[in-house]
């Protein structure tokens, strides 16, 4: 319960539209400090959109998003960029800079944001690469790495500045069982070792729930469920059950919203 009194992120009555399409119809949720929060839900439910709203890359139509007490959608550009130095993001694609080596990718935020000398930067970079198990790959180029390795390098870069929170956008997509296991263990270990607040957006429900302390389920433009993974598994809500069991029929429609077929033919 204490985590509810001290959330790191609070989403309050957020309404968000993409052009005419309503994505969130007044959602509220919280991300507890120092825990792993999983954001799950069907495709198109707006999970990644929520990450972008938290990072201030999108602005809600109404409502507020608070990160450590700061209202993200009211921050000035400079304040927002300062706040982002306290966040790390692992993008789905890794988003490594293709013209820089693994070492230079991880060193990049350190060179831009700190005054550390080259020796210290080298030490920090090698430590971060050691944490993700890729110290030996420091001189390789991104195109020489597998998809999973690229994500681990991106993770090393995301933690280079020792952020307070880290957001993972679909970190397990396209991973073989070994790569998936490595990333799962890494997310859990980093969260504990660095005392991070972690948010994991994922479709891999079983794996994500295995490491999560808190779950936010998005569906049909609202927060369909929020609570612990145990509470989610025990929920009798039809929508939650449909999602957990992967049923094609239920509250989440298979068909995208459209008028009846007979009316249009």
């Amino acid at each position: 319960m204490s985590e509810l009194l001290d959330p790191f992120i609070t989403v309050e009555n957020v309404v968000f539209r993409r052009e005419r399409r309503l994505i969130y119809d007044g959602i509220s949720a919280h991300v507890p400090r120092g825990k792993i929060t999983a954001i799950v839900g069907p495709s198109g439910a707006g999970k990644t959109t929520l990450l972008r709203l938290i990072g201030g890359q999108l602005i809600p139509g109404s409502g507020d998003i608070k990160v450590d007490g700061l209202v993200v959608n009211q921050l000035k550009r400079k304040q927002l960029f300062e706040l982002r130095k306290r966040m790390g993001v692992l993008f789905q694609s890794g988003a490594l800079f293709g013209e820089l080596s693994v070492f230079d990718n991880v060193a990049f935020p350190l060179r831009v944001h700190t005054e550390l000398d080259d020796d210290l930067i080298r030490l920090v970079v090698l430590m971060k690469l050691e944490a993700v198990g890729l110290r030996g790959a420091f001189d390789l180029m991104p195109y020489e790495l597998s998809g999973g390795m690229q994500r681990r390098v991106a993770l090393a870069r995301a933690i280079a500045l020792d952020p307070e929170m880290i957001m993972y956008d679909e970190p397990f997509v396209g991973q073989d069982p070994i790569g998936l296991g490595v990333l799962l263990a890494l997310v859990k270990r980093l969260n504990q070792a660095l005392d991070l607040t972690s948010i994991v957006v994922s479709h891999d429900l079983k794996e994500t729930l295995s490491i999560a302390d808190h779950v936010i389920m998005m569906a049909n433009r609202v927060v369909a469920f929020e609570g612990t993974p145990q509470a989610m598994r025990g929920s009798e809500d039809r929508l939650v059950q449909q999602f957990l069991n992967g049923s094609p029929d239920g509250p989440v429609s298979f068909h995208y919203s459209a008028p009846p077929l007979l009316e249009v033919v």
Binding site: Q57, R77, F81, L83, R84, M87, F91, A95, V112
Partner: protein, 260 residues
Amino acid sequence: MLGYLQRIGLAALSQLSNLGRAGLILAQAVFGRSRAGIHWHLLIDQVYAVGVLSLSIIIVSGLFIGMVLGLQGYTILVNYGSEQALGQMVALSLTRELGPVVTALLFAGRAGSALTAEIGLMKVTEQLASLEMMGIDPLRRVVAPRFWAGVISLPILSLIFVSVGCLGGALVGVSWLGIDSGSFWANMQASVSFYDDVVNGMIKSVIFALVVTWIAVYQGFDLIPTSEGIARATTRTVVYASLAILGLDFFLTAVMFGGI
């Protein structure tokens, strides 16, 4: 009729909105504050990418256009017994018009499209978003160095184009068609005014550089992040930049040489 007017209104509003966004992007990239000030190393890298790597196409094109001018000019001037004025004709055509315009068109095709594609690909692969989330402004880090590199490089390329073009004209006129070398160069020197011709040509070139590079970086930064989006934006860069160059050239020529 009402629907037609609505469509025109919507299209106009959309274009105005694009222009506003392009202006904001340019203003933030050029005038926004950066903790590290000007990123000189990034600027030098980009001057190399957009300027130095465009040298070969500029030199080859300049040489051939100068040669064609020499040949065409000779066939006309010889009818009036004025072939000695070939140097004057080649130099004035190049400094006032062909130098700035053709260089800018080649620059739009070679460097402008590359700038759009590069920035666009960075957007598609989430590198721009990743910079933002690292607390680094992509407008200052990615767009600004490319913009200034274009503004610096194009006028210099234009000067090189004009110089090589004059040599091409001399190659055909003097070495091949036998015009007296002294007449060719003396006529050129006597008739080309530094302020009226060379400086005005350079002013044109600087304005073309601002417009072409602005269009290129904006199209890259604002594209729809798909492979088709990159293709469309790259095409738009070349088309819009070419039309802007030709339209502006008429306007600038009218102001500089037309007495408006």
